[in-house]
């Protein structure tokens, strides 16, 4: 990790990377024939490799969807696993084209890093994981606890705010990688592991006895997670942004991986616009007319991706909650494709 960030820093410093300052991300990617996508080092449900080395997850589906929109082939992605503290440097230096790595959207990140958030793939919040044997029922009972946290995250700062705000003492032990953090929690170095709730459920699956651990009810922060792209290329910003919107809109219009070909023939005006049989919205983005059907064929609509990776159809079994569509009780809402 040390070496990576140093090399990346030097790369930024020397301006070695050709596309760092140029505004031609789409062309660069097409010439390269590959999308370079920054993901986590292994977080079940969001981005993790299986035993054959294939990456899956909600964040990975964004990479795949963008690749499908650009190349018509969702497999043309090079995944770059990044630790929390190296992720922004990798994006700044041009090593990756998109950062899709459960990253919380905050003002300071949006303004000072030379990068933009393109939307929210998952509305999350920070919670606490503890051993059941401690018999703790609320985060307010955690006074004097030792807390394990991954360094370089918003989590680390929320933690400080929460304990200070509630006049509680604690000891923080911060690790560079998620795996080290969980291992320290498991070994008993800490009483509590804190992170985004979705991550707590995912990491709990990796513990020896998941049933011995419980996620406390308190959610202490807003953590809207989303993909990021570099400043300075608005076309590329639009492409990544509208890839997610297309997935959400597809769910709203009832377009699924199964019925996409059938729906493409529909003569409903909104579907005709989305599938490019009327107008050239895809080409305005710099893509092809059939960009929406390419995306949905590759990864399905937002709801399908959610269910498959983190929702009812996955081991995590997380309820849709806030991440349901706006007209079904959630807050996922995409601007119209027109």
């Amino acid at each position: 990790m040390k070496r990576v960030s140093l090399v990346l820093t030097l790369a930024v410093a020397a301006g070695l990377s050709a596309q760092a300052a140029s505004a031609q991300t789409l062309k660069t990617i097409k010439d390269r024939g590959m999308l370079s996508c920054g993901v986590s080092q292994g977080l079940p449900g969001f981005s993790s490799p299986d035993d054959k080395g294939n990456w899956t997850g909600l964040d990975v589906d964004i990479c795949r969807a963008v690749a499908a929109a650009v190349f018509g082939d969702a497999t043309k992605v090079k995944y770059v696993p990044l630790s929390a503290k190296d992720r922004f440097t990798a994006l700044q230096s041009g090593e990756i084209d998109v950062l899709s790595r459960n990253t919380t959207w905050t003002l300071s990140r949006d303004t000072s890093l030379g990068a933009n958030f393109t939307g929210v793939t998952y509305y999350d919040g920070q919670g606490f994981l503890v051993k059941k044997s401690l018999k703790v029922n609320s985060a307010l009972e955690l006074n004097s606890a030792s807390v394990c946290v991954q360094t370089g995250t918003t989590t680390e700062q929320n933690l400080a705010d929460y304990f200070k705000g509630n006049n509680m003492k604690y000891e923080v032990i911060a690790f560079a990688g998620a795996d080290e953090t969980v291992k320290a929690y498991e070994s008993g170095r800490c009483d509590v592991f804190t992170s985004d709730v979705s991550q707590l459920y995912a990491e709990r699956l990796k513990l020896a006895n998941p049933a011995d651990h419980v996620v406390l009810p308190e959610v202490i922060s807003k953590e809207p997670l989303g993909p990021m792209v570099r400043h300075g290329d608005d076309q590329w910003f639009d492409i990544v942004k509208w890839t997610l919107f297309a997935m959400v809109d597809a769910e709203e219009m009832g377009v699924t991986q199964q019925n996409v070909d059938e729906m493409a023939k529909s003569d409903k005006p909104e579907l005709k616009r989305a599938f490019g049989t009327d107008g050239n919205l895809g080409e305005q983005l710099g893509l092809t007319k059939d960009w929406v059907s390419r995306i949905v064929k590759a990864v399905g609509n937002y709801g399908e991706s959610f269910d498959r990776n983190v929702g009812a159809g996955s081991k995590l079994g997380i309820a849709r909650g806030l991440n349901n569509l706006w007209n079904k009780g959630g807050i996922q809402y995409a601007p119209p494709i027109r």
Binding site: G114, S144, C148, Q157, H231
Partner: protein
């Protein structure tokens, strides 16, 4: 004292310089000037290019971030620190943690290294074999592996705070570290410190006087009973007059952890153990080589004067061996300091972890932070080298 020349013969040096292209006169000067100019131009290009790229992408640049609030906590701070302090404070906290682990690591590495080297040279078969096995075992395993071993295999196996191992009801060892009673200064504290300082100063004076007498008249004065009496008696006397210098706050288990007392965190223990045992293996070999480089005749001469083995080593062999030992020993000290940045693997909050790690990722200002961090490690290394060079210079003067 006849010591073989250690400088290479001057003819050899001249030949080496000719081979490496050292030129005399104006031609050489102009070439060197051109080289420096080219180097300066490359540096300028790198800086200008970086600045242009940063501006083009609107990445925040400059050192203003150092005044911003850090907003995160650190598990070990030698100076008062809380999340509402600035990144500058984080920098100092991290730097002090690095210096602490390096200084203590260097101390123990040197101690263990010298002992193992002497053990390996010992005529005692078992001792020399055990020392040899230690050196070969420890120096051939990766350092990161050893750090993780101490942290995850040894320290994590300790019981939880509620079941901690207790010594005299005052020291508690658990997987949260070692908790010890915390000394709190009482009114008798200042006189006590003054007494200790006076006792030390007088002891040094006595020792110097005895050496002077030894060299001048060959009279051996036993000073240690007086020194011992001074060091114990004087502080004890002040304590009786002014009252106890400190009281101890006993560790009390409250909630999840010990609420009072001082605590040594396991990350610090694991890192110190790994760094000092690992570096000690290298130091042992350096010291052994240094001692073997001293001519056998020196030792025999010492023995024939009637000195004991320990005195021969201390007074004759080691001072001569030191000039061979010193340069590679300095290298090991520098390595240990730089290796302390592996702390990031076990969550010890050293400079690299809290500043080049957390601060970098929160502010995104990679160039500034990596630049500062590189500068600091460079400075620490140069200062260490300077101290060791000074020591070497004094040593060579005293050897004549």
């Amino acid at each position: 004292m006849a010591i073989e020349p250690r400088q290479p013969p001057s003819q050899f040096v001249a030949k080496l310089q000719r081979t490496l292209g050292g030129r005399a006169g104006w031609g050489g000067f102009v070439l060197q000037l051109l080289f420096v100019a080219a180097l300066a131009w490359i540096c300028y290009e790198i800086v200008a290019n970086a600045r242009a790229n940063l501006q083009a992408q609107r990445i925040t640049a400059g050192f203003g971030f150092l005044q911003n609030t850090a907003g995160f906590d650190v598990s070990q701070n030698l100076i008062p620190y809380s999340g509402s302090d600035s990144y500058t404070r984080v920098f100092w906290v991290g730097l002090l943690n690095t210096l602490l682990v390096s200084a203590i690591g260097i101390f123990f590495a040197t101690l263990i290294g010298f002992l193992v080297a002497l053990g390996r040279l010992s005529p005692n078969w078992l001792l020399s074999r055990i020392s040899g096995a230690y050196v070969e075992g420890v120096r051939n395993l990766p350092l990161l592996f050893q750090i993780l071993f101490w942290y995850l295999a040894v320290l994590a196996a300790l019981p939880s705070p509620r079941q901690s191992i207790s010594l005299f009801g005052a020291f508690f060892l658990s997987n949260r570290g070692l908790v010890i009673p915390k000394p709190i200064g009482d009114p008798g504290f200042e006189p006590f410190i003054v007494a200790v300082l006076v006792a030390i100063a007088v002891s040094i004076g006595l020792w110097r006087y005895s050496r002077h007498q030894l060299f001048q008249s060959g009279k051996l004065i036993m000073v240690w009973p007086y020194v011992l009496g001074l060091l114990i008696g004087l502080p004890l006397l002040t304590a009786l007059i002014f009252g106890a210098p400190v009281t101890f706050e006993m560790p009390v288990l409250k909630g999840f952890n010990f609420a009072s007392g001082s605590r040594v965190i396991p990350e610090f223990v694991a890192l110190t153990l790994a760094l000092s045992t690992y570096t000690a293996a290298f130091i042992a070999e350096i010291v052994r080589a240094g001692i073997l480089s001293v001519h056998k005749g020196q030792m025999e001469a010492g023995s024939s004067l009637g000195l004991q083995r320990g005195s021969v080593l201390r007074l004759i062999v080691i001072p001569q061996a030191m000039r061979v030992i010193l340069p590679p020993l300095t290298n090991q000290y520098l390595n240990l300091t730089k290796n302390s940045s592996l702390a990031v693997a076990i969550g010890y909050p050293d400079l690299f972890s809290v500043f080049a790690g957390t601060t970098l990722s929160q502010t995104g200002q990679a160039i500034e932070i990596i630049g500062i961090t590189m500068g600091v490690y460079l400075l620490i290394s140069l200062v260490t080298s300077a101290i060791m060079s000074f020591y070497g210079w004094r040593l060579s003067r005293s050897l004549g």
